[in-house]
């Protein structure tokens, strides 16, 4: 699958944090490209570096970050090493974020209308115009009686409505890139479906790119065009959703898909699992990062695997990537 015109180009990004035990290498040589208007999913379990990836893009790495290398080019400009002043120009304007928990993302002591008007401080328009725009975006996320509800506070809305408010706020600036960090994890299934549909419609409407972080394979399959699979700080495989779900080549991707009960059609007494634990990211093991837990490991896995290109846009970091084809 061809990659469209670039918007975000993460190139060989590595991030380490200083800890009492030594330097924790949270991200290692991560490369990921996103095109304009593309919806890309990032899948990974706890500790895979999803949050570090987001924080690197929005320039909010914690104070104990001790090593940062590689490039994050956003519309041609490198975010790595960018001055705070310039970053602020991007963040919250051209790159916006929706977080997992809509309650903590909203200010509990300000009404929705106040928050949504305040966030437009960069716009040179009258307060009345800002309010009109607030209502317009609340209507876009299908908030009933949007105008009447401007004076209400976050606790007066249900969880699903709060997440809609967060989406409306994130889209108010018509960003180029929307980062959605597990936006449906805290929602019930029927609401999750509603929010995913809404995101897709709004994305078409506004034309922004969406980086959708999730551990829910079903949600990614429903929304995204391309997907990257992360494990222990590395992107182990990436490609079109179709290629990854139909013909996964990295053993971790294969195991992850195998473990999802939604993909197990016949009833099973024993559920599949991935044995073992995440490797220690302070003392990175030699060779392939997944080796210890990999069902397909062999001698060569003690060497770091190359990133094999399976087909256009589909890459997997595994010595056996070419052999592990689905029948």
């Amino acid at each position: 699958m061809a990659e469209p015109e670039g918007l975000l180009d993460i190139d060989n990004l590595s991030v380490s944090f200083r800890t009492p035990r030594g330097d924790l290498q949270a991200l290692r040589n991560v490369s990921l490209k996103m095109g304009k208007g593309e919806i890309v999913g990032v899948i990974g379990e706890s500790g895979c570096g999803k949050s570090t990836l987001i924080n690197s893009i929005i320039g909010l790495l914690p104070a104990n970050t001790c090593a940062l290398s590689g490039h994050i080019r956003f519309a041609g400009e490198d975010i790595v090493g960018m001055a705070d002043r310039d970053l602020r120009r991007l963040r919250g304007e051209r790159i916006t974020t929706i977080f997992q928990d809509p309650m903590t993302a909203l200010n509990p002591v300000l009404s929705i209308g106040t928050q949504m008007t305040a966030i437009q401080y960069r716009r040179n328009s009258s307060p009345r115009e800002k309010q009109r725009r607030t209502v317009e975006f609340l209507e876009k996320v299908r908030m009933p009686d949007a105008e009447k509800r401007l004076g209400q506070y976050p606790h007066q809305f249900s969880g699903g409505m709060r997440q809609r408010i967060c989406i409306a706020m994130a889209l108010l600036t018509e960003p180029d890139l929307l980062i959605a960090d597990e936006p449906t994890t805290a929602l019930d299934a029927t609401l999750e479906v509603q929010v995913i549909r809404l995101l897709r419609e709004l994305q078409r409407d506004i034309g922004c790119s969406v980086l959708f972080i999730s551990h829910h394979l079903g949600a990614v399959a429903e929304l995204c065009e391309r997907v990257a699979i992360m494990y222990a700080g590395e992107v182990v495989e990436q490609g079109s959703v179709r290629d990854i779900f139909r013909d996964p080549r990295h053993p971790y991707t294969r195991k992850l898909l195998e473990c999802d009960p939604g993909r197990i059609l016949e009833l099973r007494a024993v559920m599949p699992t991935i044995g073992g634990d995440l490797p220690d990211l302070v003392h990175i093991p030699k060779g392939c990062i997944f080796r210890e837990r990999c069902p397909d490991r062999f001698e060569r896995c003690s060497e770091r695997p190359p990133v094999e290109t399976i087909r256009a846009g589909h890459r997997a970091a595994c010595h056996k990537a070419r052999e592990l084809a689905n029948p």
């Binding site: 969880g159 509603q194 699992t273 634990d277």
Partner: protein, 321 residues
């Protein structure tokens, strides 16, 4: 076979948050979190309560262990009525019914070592003889090495904390274990481990499980029977396989179709549910699902549907699928 647990027409009420405002606005002064629920649980099997936030499934579970009082109906355990028992008499019953709480880390005291957490059930019920040996055996049952007894909750991973919570629930070899969302928040690779553990323990000790879950993919694999709850009522109940094969209630259908398939080529038509769950203070008329149901008929608005039974499969819908 006589069921181990029978829940018969149980109602659980809570006072509305603002009673004065409720009175002034003519709203009810109570909300019925559980409104006339009946089901029976066969010994040695797994029964799942399914539903979205606010459906009353956790409240019902808490009532079974006696953590919230019931206001109508009866709960019978092992042929004995346990709803409305005094605290003293409940304690004896609680030996037999254990609960695994939703948030495993939150349900473990941060100041207690795993050893003390696991010792507590024995101490409470006066079984202190050989307690050290019992604790080690429990850890072994849930697949944790003995040195985990010395750890504090913050030194445990999510999966390990869940195992400790399972060990605590199993300490007194209860007949019934209520597991509230036992896999929520776990990575899929670990989800399987916890489910396998519960299944092994069921095989080993014949434990009966009442599982509360919103994860239909999990329920399909582990539950023998299930009930779907909406606004504090059971709208559909039956054999898990039968419900997944042919759901009758429109809400169950919507719930199943909202269960996104991890398959990009899967294109089952999504059944849209409109809006969100209504407030318990303003229960809709007729069938309480009608404002969100795209299949609702005129009668749905006016009349609550009667429960129909079809080969052990119960449902309440005017326009079933």
């Amino acid at each position: 076979m006589k069921p181990l647990l029978t829940v018969n027409d149980v109602t659980i009420r809570f006072p509305a948050a603002n009673r004065l405002a409720a009175r002034l606005s003519g709203q009810p002064r109570f909300i019925e979190a559980v409104a006339g629920v009946s089901f029976a649980l066969e010994a040695g099997k797994t029964y799942a309560l399914v539903g979205e936030s606010g459906s009353g499934k956790t409240t019902l579970a808490r009532a079974i262990v006696g953590l919230v009082p019931t206001h109508g109906g009866q709960i019978e355990f092992n042929g004995e009525r346990i709803s409305g028992l005094s605290e003293n008499r409940l304690r004896r019953v609680r030996r037999e019914i254990a609960m695994i709480f939703q948030d495993p880390l939150g349900s473990l005291s941060p100041r207690l070592k795993v050893r003390s957490t696991l010792a507590e059930p024995f101490t409470v019920h006066g079984e202190t003889a050989g307690i050290e040996r019992k604790i080690i055996a429990l850890l072994e049952d849930v697949g944790l090495p003995a040195h985990f007894a010395e750890r504090y909750p913050h030194q445990l991973s999510g999966g390990q904390a869940r195992r400790v919570a399972v060990a605590r629930a199993l300490a007194l070899r209860p007949k019934l274990v209520i597991a509230d969302e036992p896999t929520a928040g776990l990575d899929v690779s670990i989800q399987g481990e916890v489910l396998n553990l519960l299944r092994d323990l069921q095989a080993k000790f014949g434990t009966t499980f009442l599982m509360i879950s919103h994860n239909l993919n999990v329920v399909r694999h582990v539950a023998d029977r299930m009930a779907v709850m909406y606004l504090g009522r059971i709208v559909e109940e039956g054999n898990t396989a039968a419900i997944f094969a042919a759901p009758r209630h429109r809400y169950t259908r919507a719930l199943l179709s909202a269960n996104l398939k991890p398959d990009p080529d899967h294109s089952a038509p999504l059944i849209e549910v409109e809006g969100e769950t209504p407030s318990l203070l303003k229960r809709p008329s007729g069938c309480e699902f009608h404002p969100r149901c795209i299949f609702s008929l005129a009668v749905c608005k006016q009349q609550a549907p009667k429960e129909q039974i079809d080969a052990g499969h119960r449902f309440s819908c005017h326009n079933p699928g």
